[in-house]
């Protein structure tokens, strides 16, 4: 592993934690009436206390390609993380995936209750857009609105939320005979591109926006982000198929139990591993316009493929 990689990943994780802690303070901002303690605490429970912070890392490392390293970049990164965090809170609800454990601790609705978890998730989405719209993120309104559009479009109906809908359908939740409609490879790829790929790609894209990348650079980075998302999902499916819950920090073997198609179930473990290695190569190649400056992002693709949790 590139010597710099772990250092940089950890540094961004710490900066994410610090900024979230500051932003989720009891002091209301201008235009806020009050911050109800129970809701604030629930948002803090959902957002603070670790995680790899892969999405913030992607934004930070992409912006750094263009020499941009400041609080504004961290704000964009934290906004993304709030959207990621809200999606986990809502996905864990009993009405959705019904998970009791997340990163080894009780999920938000277990620690609080369903109503508080729904509201904390709602307030986190909104908070993400609040963060992006504030002038502290970037002095240029055009940049802030471009960040807003990218985050909104990647996480809604045509992206992350839509992907979660397809995922519930794939579990046969709504099939007349109760059986899952196992998808083929194209359908499975599309579902995954929406559910997890879109927000990962947005993390890279938002780094490019805030770094003022030109059209060609944005195209290269979009390709990288897309391939990285696919790699992430295959690695996730492999973990679900092979990992044990203690290491992974959440329940495993759930896909098979639900009869859900994954690339692993469609292709087999060996072929999925080969595909994964190919994607890591492809991600690295997509970054060729940036030379050695993009080594941390290349290393990130390897890390995503090899992670054990």
């Amino acid at each position: 592993m590139h010597p710099d990689f772990r250092l940089r990943l950890d540094r961004t994780a710490q900066a994410t934690e610090d900024l979230l802690d500051r932003l989720l303070s009891p002091e209301p901002l201008a235009g806020e009436i009050a911050r109800p303690p129970r809701l604030l605490d629930a948002m803090r429970y959902a957002m603070l206390g670790g995680g790899k912070r892969l999405r913030p890392h992607l934004t930070v490392e992409t912006a750094r390609l263009f020499g941009r390293e400041d609080e504004g970049v961290m704000r964009a990164a934290v906004a993304l993380e709030c959207v990621h965090g809200y999606s986990l809170v809502h996905d864990d609800l009993p009405a959705m995936d019904d998970d009791d454990l997340r990163r080894g601790k009780p999920t938000l609705h277990k620690a609080y209750d369903d109503a508080t978890a729904i509201l904390a998730g709602d307030a986190l989405v909104t908070f993400a857009f609040d963060i992006l719209a504030d002038a502290a993120t970037d002095p240029d309104p055009a940049t802030r609105i471009a960040l807003t559009l990218t985050l909104a479009r990647s996480s809604g109906l045509g992206g992350m939320a839509g992907g979660q809908m397809l995922d519930l359908e794939a579990e046969g939740r709504f099939a007349a005979d109760g059986r899952p409609l196992a998808g083929d490879e194209a359908e499975t790829l599309r579902l995954q591109a929406m559910k997890t790929g879109a927000l990962l790609a947005a993390s890279v894209e938002m780094g490019a926006i805030i770094g003022r990348a030109d059209t060609e650079q944005r195209r290269a980075l979009a390709r990288y982000g897309q391939v990285l998302g696919q790699a992430f999902q295959i690695a996730d499916d492999l973990l679900d198929a092979e990992g044990d819950a203690a290491t992974v920090g959440k329940a495993t073997g759930k896909d098979a139990a639900k009869g859900k198609s994954t690339l692993v179930s469609l292709m087999g473990i060996e072929a999925a591993r080969t595909r994964l290695a190919g994607l890591v190569e492809e991600a690295a190649a997509a970054l060729s316009p940036f030379g050695a400056g993009a080594d941390t992002l290349r290393e990130t693709a390897r890390f995503v493929a090899e992670r054990s949790s």
Copy 2:
């Protein structure tokens, strides 16, 4: 009633319906991967088919004070309505207020299921910010980002979502002995200012932003919006205390059953009516800088106070 008022209210309601119908089409936008039919249908079920469209009306009439009447104004109005709509969908969930009926038809989770209702709500918040961020709303990025900030801040932790949290607490949902913590007048006003007032005030404020109101005009309109929000809530509490479900289109008498404080329970019906009449006067007076041009907004305050559903 001012002869123009009903006409204008109905016209905006129709324009809201038409634009929502167009925006919630099956065609994905650039950057969207696909629009899953079940999720799109649920969003349409939540958003289409009526309602007074009071918030869009406020935005449209405020922007019209400044001569602005175009599709961009309608987009801002519809974004607001999506946030209002999502909040109803989530508030109706069994884990929250557990309502089966909304405007005389089954609530979204009854017509679909809880998971779909949670996701449709999520996708609607995101969609609101997508609409605002798109250049079609206003050519000036600074205007679009100001709209975004206003909507985000009024509807999140320090506004609408926070108000719903306080409301659940006021129902004694989390009290150790299970009894509601009945609030005094100041607490009740704050709760209501957050839960319903903030978004109503934002409807006026967004009209002012898109109309390029100057500082003094914005201050006058902010006062109007704030007072209107209070009037709305007292009228709502009176309807809950006195209305019957068939006319109101949803269950009534719920506040008393839950032991919740409202201005009506704190002051009594007569005093609440007097306060309401005073607020209508105050709203009209706040609009004095705009002369007769603001008569539709004045009429709106009367309408809000006198509505029967």
